[in-house]
């Protein structure tokens, strides 16, 4: 039995794979992307989010793999009916790789498909273990330049690319997603370089910048880093 920490379970998600899906947002991420729109997913610690109206909720809930799978399987009927399933997002789901594997195994045993949304910032063994259990992977590529990546996201691009190169050969269906951030990675040259990095034949989705990204920072008592940096 493993335990994990989740900050949201959202049903009927629209951007996370085929069919009717539930997306599990896992708490904790090794990166600190300046434009992150889920800042409550970054820290592994439980956090209190305060709204303007004074109400407060604790963000972060602990689950065993058995309990989380059971909760997700409550919607197994519509997932099977529609060819949908469960998507793991975050935060960075690979930061809780063992937990995600355990939940995914339980879902797969019930015939429920799984998908992963990842930055790829994880040890190779974790990456391969989780990806090997997925029906589909959304792999972020946020920048093509290692220095810029370190500056904006606080991580090691090369380690991510190692994982991505393995994904390309793994046979697991996948696509690359690029969050387009004004002034960071959205010039034509950036796009061309990102396409080159994704490699020949790769499916690349350029996602428009989410203007609501700063919304949750004040609830955590934080400043929106991208605003400070640009």
């Amino acid at each position: 039995m493993t335990a994990g920490r989740v900050f949201e379970i959202r049903e009927f998600t629209l951007h996370d794979g085929p069919g009717v899906r539930t997306t599990v947002f896992l708490k904790g991420c090794p990166l600190r992307c300046a434009w992150c729109h889920n800042p409550e997913g970054q820290s592994r610690d439980k956090e209190t989010m305060r709204r303007k109206d004074g109400s407060a909720t604790v963000c972060g809930e602990d689950w065993t793999d058995e309990a989380l799978a059971a909760e997700l399987l409550r919607n197994a009927d519509i997932m099977r009916q529609s060819g949908g399933g469960v998507s793991f997002s975050g935060g960075e789901p690979l930061a809780q790789a063992e937990f995600v594997c355990a939940v995914a195994d339980r879902l797969r045993a019930e015939g429920i498909g799984c998908a992963l949304e990842t930055s790829g910032a994880a040890p190779e063994s974790d990456y391969r273990a989780v990806v090997g259990r997925m029906d589909f992977v959304y792999q972020d590529l946020k920048h093509h330049d290692a220095a810029a990546f370190r500056r904006w996201c606080g991580g090691d691009l090369e380690a991510i690319l190692r994982n991505y190169r393995w994904l390309r050969t793994s046979g697991v269906p996948h696509c690359v997603r690029v969050p387009c951030i004004p002034g960071v990675n959205d010039s034509p040259a950036d796009r061309a370089a990102l396409l080159a990095l994704a490699g020949p034949g790769a499916t690349v989705e350029f996602l428009p910048y989410n203007p609501a990204a700063p919304a949750k920072y004040p609830m955590l008592g934080r400043e929106f880093p991208l605003a400070a940096a640009t």
Partner: protein, 695 residues
């Protein structure tokens, strides 16, 4: 869309038909009726005849129009004074709404097929028999009906002559054929339907449904296709012209709110013999609506567990355009429910909806399916006060629930008494278009094959959530006593924010939470049997439903705060839907909660209403996902579903700048209307619903 249709559409949107209209003063006619003590049936006949004759309608043709008939007189004759109606009510006669025939779908098919001349022949034969048998009531009906038919034919002839003199020879040719004789082509059938439907409104009927047009117009479409007279493009163009025409006069049609005019259409489902009925014409109807994006006609789509996903997708594509329809009805639930209420299997398979969502059988029913409503939160409020006063048996939560159900029963019984005897005012022309009236030589107002009454159930989710809250706050957590809770309801929880917070946090329908959904199951089961064995004096049953119609606004004003944490002055949700202030996990859980009870027991109608944020349809497979959600509802045994795709910002902007959003369509309580034409109260309720959907 063809330029010709665009032109007609533009004509309608820019309201140029207003210039064709004039006002009529019918007060001398009414004064004459009163002075001479004219009987109801004769008044109805004279009213229609005057409306259609020299005093009233004059032929009007729009540029490029191929299907004629446009209203040119704003007012239809009032047939009774308010004093006359009040006196009858005071004398103990109950009426459904205004008293006239309404909220039904006439039997258009036989008259489109045979022509009105055939009906005239039948009326003359029947008149002779009535005279021979000394049936003076029957003879009077036959005479009034025949005169009404002749008035319709005269106006059609006037239109024909006017078309011919203006050189509109193809229009004149069609009018030379219909409605006097049977239609032979799709165009003739549509023209005939247009005239018959037009005449019903002129007779004073309202909420006149169009019913299963994809079934009864199919033979004409197929004949034209087979003969090579028409292709799908041509058929689509004619359908679109007919649909545009449904929007031209509709501001003159009576309803509680603008748009509430009951021009409903039912597509798909099963034939009377039980075969799948979705056909090429159903497809064309959906396509026409998708191109036109108009509020009328209001599209309903019958589906079942065997319906291919593709049909759900076709429906969802309309939802994605923000039309608020189609509204779905589940044959697997509705047909057996109607059979249990005594509808013959063939009739049950032929069902359509009345104005909004009440399930009726077209052509042969005089069901009054919205005659009144029971306020479930009102019943609970009364029951809680009884329990708090110690008037009910002590005994924990179960006693409260039992007292609530007893109050629901008491209110149901009171409605049975109130509506045991209901009178309907006659309509000779609608009788001609209703199965069996000519054979019986009686107006439809005297009764038809089915004479059931429908009773809405308002705010069921508010009552169920409140029960769950009472159980948790009073009996499980002992946070507050029942008498204290009742006092707090009268003061909007003043001084006890903790109780209000706990009430809001208690289990709510819409989250697939067994603690509250199990209560709903019992309440619906009880409601389904509340009228067992009860009959009105026409032998009709009382059919309980989950609809609210406009009562959701009215009933909410009758009680203070409710135990679910809803404050005074806040509305109930419309129909069968989560309470407005309740955060729900998402549409899957909403569907799961609201399909948990056995809805076959409460099939008067009343849809689950779900708001889907329109961004869902920005994704390429958004239509697929929503289509699967609808199918999930059907597979789970849901009875009726409507989906709104809108976003809150647009609605707020439309409130502030109505002139920029004249075409914004929303689903209100059982019909789609233009948002900017609704009263503020209804607008606010929709915004509230959408806020909960946005996530």
């Amino acid at each position: 869309m063809k330029p010709r249709i665009e032109k007609l559409l533009d004509f309608t949107f820019s309201r140029r038909q207003d210039a064709l209209r004039r006002d009529a003063d019918w007060s001398p006619l009414l004064a004459r009726f009163v002075a001479e003590g004219v009987d109801d049936e004769t008044r109805a006949r004279i009213g229609l005849v005057e409306m259609l004759r020299a005093e009233g309608e004059t032929p009007a043709f729009l540029d490029g129009e191929r299907l004629a008939f446009t209203r040119t007189v704003r007012q239809i004759p009032e047939l009774h004074t308010a004093a006359e109606m009040d006196a009858r009510r005071a004398g103990g006669t109950a009426f459904g709404e205004k008293g006239v025939v309404f909220n039904i779908t006439a039997d258009f098919a036989p008259t489109i097929r045979d022509g009105l001349d055939a009906r005239l022949g039948e009326l003359r034969d029947r008149l002779a028999r009535c005279r021979a048998e000394g049936d003076s009531e029957g003879a009077a009906f036959c005479e009034n009906a025949a005169l009404s038919v002749e008035a319709v034919l005269e106006l059609a002839e006037k239109y024909r002559a006017a078309a011919a003199s203006r050189g509109l020879h193809d229009v004149a040719d069609v009018l030379a054929r219909v409605p006097r004789f049977g239609a032979r082509t799709f165009r003739e059938a549509l023209q005939s339907l247009r005239i018959l439907h037009f005449a019903l409104w002129c007779e004073g009927e309202y909420h006149c449904g169009l019913g299963r047009i994809d079934q009864y117009l199919l033979p004409y479409y197929e004949a034209d296709i087979a003969a090579g007279r028409l292709d799908d493009d041509g058929a689509l163009e004619l359908l679109e012209e007919f649909f545009v025409a449904c929007n031209r006069d509709s501001d003159l049609y009576i309803g509680v709110q603008q748009g509430d005019n009951g021009q409903s259409v039912m597509l798909g489902g099963l034939t009377r013999d039980g075969a799948p009925a979705f056909n090429a014409l159903s497809r064309l109807c959906l396509k026409a609506c998708g191109e036109l994006k108009l509020v009328d006609p209001k599209i309903n789509l019958r589906v079942d567990k065997n319906t291919p996903v593709e049909i759900y997708r076709l429906g969802t594509e309309l939802t994605a355009k923000g039309l608020g329809f189609p509204q779905y009805a589940n044959d697997d639930v509705v047909i057996p429910a109607l059979e249990r209420w005594g509808y013959e299997p063939e009739d049950a398979r032929d069902y359509t909806v009345a104005a909004c969502w009440e399930f009726i059988v077209p052509g042969c029913g005089l069901d009054i399916d919205n005659i009144d409503a029971v306020s479930f939160p009102g019943a609970l409020d009364a029951a809680l006060r009884l329990c708090a006063d110690g008037a009910a048996e002590p005994g924990g939560y179960d006693a409260v629930e039992a007292a609530f159900l007893a109050e629901v029963q008491r209110r149901a019984d009171a409605l049975v008494e109130k509506y045991r005897h209901v009178e309907v005012l006659p309509g000779p022309f609608v009788s001609v278009l209703s199965a069996g009236c000519i054979q019986r030589a009686r107006d439809i107002c005297k009764g038809a094959k089915y004479n059931n009454f429908g009773i809405h159930g308002t705010g069921i989710s508010v009552a169920v959530d409140s029960l769950a809250s009472v159980r948790e706050l009073v009996f499980e957590k002992a946070l507050v006593s029942l008498p204290e809770l009742v006092r707090l309801l009268d003061t909007d929880f003043a001084g006890r924010p903790d109780v209000l917070a706990a009430a809001k946090a208690a289990p709510k329908m819409g989250n697939a939470d067994g603690r509250v959904d199990s209560i709903a199951k019992r309440v619906i089961k009880f409601w389904g049997h509340a009228f067992d064995g009860k009959r009105n004096d026409r032998g009709g049953r009382f059919r309980p439903g989950t609809g609210s119609a406009m009562y959701y606004v009215w009933h909410a004003r009758e009680i203070p705060a409710s135990a679910d944490g809803r404050l005074s002055g806040h509305p109930f949700p419309a129909n069968w839907a989560p309470s407005l202030d309740v955060p729900v996990k998402g549409p899957v859980s909403v569907v799961r909660s609201f399909t948990e009870p056995d809805l076959g027991a409460v099939c008067n109608g009343g849809p689950l209403t779900i708001e889907i944020h329109d961004s869902a349809f920005a994704m390429p497979d958004g239509v697929d996902k929503v289509a699967e959600l609808v199918r999930f509802f059907v597979l789970r045994g849901g009875h009726q579903l409507q989906i709104n795709a809108i976003d809150r910002d647009t609605l707020l902007d439309a409130q502030a700048h109505p002139e920029r959003h004249r075409h914004l369509i929303v689903r209100v309580w059982g019909w789609s209307g233009y948002f900017v034409e609704l009263d503020r109260e209804f607008q606010d309720q929709i915004i509230k619903r959408v806020e909960l959907a946005a996530s």
